[in-house]
Symmetry: D2
Subunit: 231 residues, 4 copies
């Protein structure tokens, strides 16, 4: 049996022609990780593109989850200015847009989910991911904030969905699917138009996500490893 | 009647002789904000020093709250590397120490409060604070992560305490006391020993906290103002 | 006998109401350093404001030098984005303006001085200045580039002038007068309008320049102290 | 006839197993740029590795120049912390080592060349290089300081050598050979061991140097293009 891994990326944002989050997801569509499940099951990645729009992005994410019934969901987003692949630790229940999204929406200090909890932790093994990425020579660090724009919005909505999800016959499936969010750096092509902006080649990003996905599929409990931030 | 504002700072950390968070708190001990409560009540600041130690810092904080029954609690901490006064938006339920605290403790990925919620939002008017600080010519920004060290630990414990607190006769007082955490930059004296580190003069920091406290005492609902982070 | 120290600062640039380089110079006008010359001579600072305009700034600088016949000339400029007081090591013979100056001039890759040498080193004891500033608790570092805008333009023109200067009776005075350039950080008031920009209080800057001037007047040969840059 | 382009890189520095400057140079050894000289002449790159040692590096550089009689010399060096390919504008006549070189040498504030001029400008078309690199989607910027360590040391010695060089029969050849220095970012493998450090993939760096070399071989006079630094 083959289980699905859902990998989402965003459409290009603002004036940029490419969004690395989608380029990475697209490159890994149909990729089969070299990891096997407990019963010898195989895994296969399915990519889905999300609009960079509050609300609409979540509708599209939920449709993709419904379609693929994934055991693992990783949403990707661009973090212009970061130089590393950064698995996010926590999603917070706030939309606070510094600039308008692709549909011109700019929520300020509103909840992602009206009666939702203040935050959700990622259920990905973020420390093990960072350790394995670094071992592979790929710059990575845990991030403690996904911001308050569409990325955090999707991250929170994903975790809320996974925490609430039930199958059609009413049994909870929350424990089945793990999920989280990973920010990726700008591509060199984008950084070339923004002097000083760090970047990471697409090939490195794609290899990084392969490592991250295989780690998530093979590590049951995250490692306890130093990786916090003083502030 | 005089209401108390509790302002805490940390003891010096590691090798540094001074901690600006405590220097600011100490400088404002007994200071009376130029703001009056609804019934013409006055306010007065009381400073308390916290040890830079997981657990012990919270014990000391709770003792100070019990002693002064404050209507407002602001905990301060040093954020070496930041150049602005940064009111924190959210405390998360994790201790993840990159380095040992002053007692040699270094918890990694443990909960601050075993069965506590994932996070608490500050109940300070952080956007109004930042707006008023900038108007006064004092660099300030909202921060979306207080890290995972003793600062976040104290911030989370404070918000958990305020959310749970009841008076001795059993009536809830949660709605009465507001609280949160503000990170301050290094003092010039510290930055002078760490080339490249930004700093802020003590006088500017003290003036900044006066503005922040008066804002918290006079603004009932925070302003809705653009101030989020893309990531 | 009283010798003059010429301290210059720039007029406000662009939209900013204040320029710290001038605020510092103005604050020290007529200040008498606690240092005596070899014959028991005293020193006194004279401040001059330079326009932030290629060419015009040099005319004004030369006029001030002619007026005060200083034994020491320190030109100050704002380096928005730097957090420390940074004595500059070298002035280069190029004008390359990323943006127009206050008169709308924007030279690109032209010489400051057509047949001048490629560069001049500062004749200030920059290492001793940095050491003394840090000892006083004031953040400071040697800088190896003054950029290619009006600051470097004035710095180069100053050093060229001092290297060429002769008194009216034809005797060289080059060895008499030392000179150089020091960049100072933004004031908090400016940084408050540019989120993330580091700053330094005016009082700290003024105290810093007092230390720098007294060091220049009392140190004959600069100290040999580690302070270079890897790149 | 085939003209040589000399491309140098440094041996690994300190504890790092790889130095991107040498990996790039090595990858381009024997590469033939798709550019032809005036008489239909071809070009071919020769790579040489320099020790990361004051003095010795220059000896090796001069030997390689003597061996290959290049028409173009580009020396490469690693700039850990930079995210872009940065052609350097100016070499200064100072050695000021913040840390010891690979032979334990640590000169402080001494001249590269005792009676040499204060500085040399690169004779590479640095603005055209940056423009072409960006057009190719490769992050690049002009740098106004090569630091004061072995990189600047080699850069200065190269320019001094080219300015002085005469052929065996005594005719000057200075006008024949152009030269300069380009800093490259860390490789991802190195950045993976230094959290927060930006990097650039080897393939991107190699492609970048191809663009830079072809630009240098085909652009006679550098473009006048905005690209200066405010400070």
């Amino acid at each position: 049996m083959t289980h699905h891994v859902l990998l989402t990326g965003f459409e290009p944002f603002d004036q940029d022609p490419l969004n690395p989050s989608w380029e990475v997801a697209r490159a890994l569509d149909r990729w089969q990780p070299a990891v096997m499940g407990r019963a010898g099951d195989a895994f296969e990645v399915r990519a889905a593109q999300l609009p960079c729009v509050f609300g609409d992005a979540v509708v599209r994410l939920q449709a993709a989850i419904a379609q693929w019934q994934p055991v693992l969901v990783i949403c990707l987003g661009l973090a212009g200015g970061r130089s590393e692949i950064t698995p996010e630790r926590v999603a917070i229940n706030v939309d606070d847009a510094r600039i308008p999204d692709n549909a011109g929406r700019q929520p300020v200090d509103t909840a992602v989910q009206l009666h939702g909890p203040t935050a959700y932790f990622s259920t990905l093994p973020i420390k093990a991911m960072v350790r394995n990425l670094r071992t592979e020579g790929i710059p990575a660090s845990v991030s403690n904030t996904a911001g308050t724009f569409v990325c955090n919005h999707v991250f929170y909505a994903l975790m809320h969905h996974l925490a609430q999800a039930t199958t059609k016959d009413g049994r909870p499936q929350a424990r089945e699917a793990r999920g989280g969010f990973i920010h990726v750096p700008a591509l060199p092509e984008l950084a070339a138009r923004h002097p000083g902006m760090p970047s990471m080649a697409l090939a490195t990003q794609v290899r990084g996500l392969q490592v991250a996905i295989e780690t998530a599929l093979s590590v049951a409990d995250d490692v306890r490893e130093v990786g916090g931030a003083l502030h």
